[in-house]
Symmetry: C2
Subunit: 414 residues, 2 copies
């Protein structure tokens, strides 16, 4: 028996309905914030992702050659494609450009709980601006999305990559080795960072200060300990967020993010319900367009792990109520089957979701099928009722049966 590929999923109707519902919630919130949807191809030139993430990304890519011998890869994320699209075709649009996207991404990694080889991301980018207003707008959008989905417990941690970079430079870490140190600090691997910093001749005191900085977490007040522009900047971001009514945020100078292209504010959101693998969203301000052949343009954005956040909601016990259909039409005999088709077509034309018995089932079996497809009402089309231009409508939750004129059914069910 042929199976789906490892690490991928089939979405059956119940699960798919739930996913489309929450996808719609995210799309609605993005639109209320004035963001507009875009879409890019499922695959890109492999080089695009290497330019964004470095050559190590190749180990995780579904990369291959097409029949024209081009190196292409299934997208592992959508920021690089979005910025590639901006460089190719949107760079002259009025700024800031506010876009969002939703779709599949692919990583060849060991499948585990909440992590798939084909996974879904929702992301947004605000292109063409670098100021606290833009960063606050992006964080507020992420927060509103998480809130609108109904996730109960989550934290948003906001940091600034400039603070740590400055500290490392002051401590004598050479610029070309900063990334190496940041990667360890990102994962709080102090044991591994220590020998590297010692090797660079960073003093015990400076080392401790670096480690302390990455553990600096709290409200706006912790910024009083942060000197210079970066601290000022974050304070502005926090103040705008307050004005926008965004709660549940922490300042956390230990938010590093793994990638070189971040330029200032960085943030992550996590859901405690997920345990160790709790990150559901990550982003920050960055520049990428110059890597793809465009001018340097400041941007800020984020991506939400759609599968992860749905898993978190499930673990919190959030229920999604399946909709079912409005009506299931059952002819009582073959003689009235033609009339039953007229009735079902009339309902559908009026936007009332309706199904009809296609298998010539007897009444008892048809009623059972109506329950299986979660019909709100069963419409019984019988000879006797038809002689009065009527049908019997049975409300499936109350069990109540009503004789309704055919010309009145649409109104009756609306």
């Amino acid at each position: 028996m042929i199976q789906k590929p490892r690490g991928t999923r089939d979405f059956l109707p119940d699960e798919m309905e739930r996913r489309r519902h929450y996808e719609g919630v995210l799309r609605h919130i993005a639109r209320t914030f004035g963001f507009r949807e875009i879409a890019t191809p499922i695959f890109e030139e492999t080089e695009l992702f290497v330019l964004r993430s470095g050559p190590n990304i190749l180990n995780e890519l579904y990369a291959f050659k097409d029949k024209g011998d081009r190196d292409i890869a299934l997208r592992p994320e959508m920021t690089a494609p979005a910025i590639r699209m901006f460089v190719n075709g949107m760079s002259n649009e009025p700024k800031p450009i506010k876009i969002f996207y939703f779709g599949q991404c692919f990583r060849y990694e060991r499948p585990q709980s909440g992590r798939y080889r084909e996974f879904f991301q929702f992301g947004a980018e605000l292109i063409g601006n670098k100021n606290p207003e833009s960063d606050a707008e992006i964080i507020a959008l992420a927060a509103s999305m998480i809130e609108a989905l109904g996730l109960r417990e989550y934290r948003i941690r906001i940091g600034h990559i400039g603070v740590l970079r400055q500290k490392l430079a002051d401590a004598g870490v050479p610029k070309e080795r900063t990334a190496e140190v940041l990667q360890k600090l990102d994962k709080k691997l102090y044991d591994e960072a220590e020998p590297i910093l010692m090797d660079m001749g960073v003093s015990d005191l400076a080392r401790q200060e670096i480690f302390d900085l990455t553990e600096t977490v709290g409200g706006k007040d912790v910024l009083s300990e942060v000197p210079g522009e970066a601290g000022e900047y974050l304070r502005s971001v926090a103040e705008i967020l307050e004005r926008m009514g965004v709660r549940d945020i922490d300042i956390d100078l230990g938010v590093v993010r793994g990638l070189d292209y971040y330029t200032g504010m960085v943030f992550e959101a996590e859901a405690p319900a997920l345990g160790a693998e709790k990150q559901i969203c990550g982003g920050g301000s960055y520049t990428l367009s110059e890597l793809f052949g465009g001018e340097q343009v400041f941007s800020t954005g984020f991506a939400i792990g759609f599968d992860r956040i749905l898993l978190a909601m499930e673990k919190e016990g959030t229920q999604y109520e399946l909709r079912g259909i409005d009506a299931y039409v059952v002819p009582t005999s073959d003689i009235v089957r033609g009339e039953a088709y007229s009735v079902v077509s009339m309902l559908r034309e009026a936007g009332i979701s309706s199904d009809i018995d296609l298998m010539g089932r007897k009444m008892a079996k048809a009623m059972k099928h109506a329950s299986a497809v979660r019909a709100g009402n069963v419409i019984i089309v019988g000879e006797k009722e038809l002689s009065e231009d009527s049908v019997t409508v049975r409300n499936m939750s109350s069990g109540e049966q009503t004789l309704v004129k055919i010309s009145d059914i649409v109104r009756f069910l609306s």
Copy 2:
């Protein structure tokens, strides 16, 4: 400058809004017919598509080996994945199973007008039944979708593969060579079919009858010339469609479809606006599950070429009106910027799509940007108005300006 891969597309915001709108129309119609959405992975084991379409499909596939040395391919269509999913996980669900899907498919072919290497299909399958009722339901769904999109000119041509198969068998065409002949007849390549049939010893008369049959087109009445079960069957389908109010259908015994797995009714829809490449939809009744390791289950379904049908509507001059946003908030100075953020957040919370100046623009430039993002209203937040707990709302189409209490804005704009 890195470009998108050949034969793929970026969808910018205007185009994407239009596409999401029409995608929503199709989804809505499928739901009113009691069909439920599913989704399958972007790639599958290559074998799945070879089993469905024969080894020639390999020439058109994006097929590659993953890092685990598995043969996988980007899906060229979604019927095979849907039936694979049915065999794996839905075979015990109550019948008939009514599902639909929408997404990208991939074919490595020469890009041309309306044909892309990454293209979008909308499809539906009704699984577990073989009778005129089921086939009519599927055709009615396709017709309602096309109608709901607003395509003005289209024809649906309905045939029955059994009629032609029977004729070929009667004329002495060996079973194992039927596919070869059908492929020529599908494309009306009589010049190429003739020597093949002569080679098989098919008489001049029988040959002419075969060719005549594939040219038999008309209303229900042409079925009087069609003997046997297949003619009866199609007559029933046509009668149910009549009851369901489906117009613009032809009986056309020349509809052959290219593939072996069709078992009975076959149909196609075409849009004359597209010229030579006018097919927008194709389907029919078939069995596939036994090829994938399941039991034989009769099904009927279709796929709509989403890109093609949108192109046809464009050629017919159908306009889609872009929505824009409800409100654009402009603070007149930095002093009131904080209040402006409170206002924009309040609007968004109420579901009113709103944007705010993030670049500290002066009024004239901000008004220009408001037009660029198609704002229905501009909300001017100024010191004087704020002293009366009010803002000025400017209706962008009428130019009318109104002083509105902040507590009343949501109501005012709703």
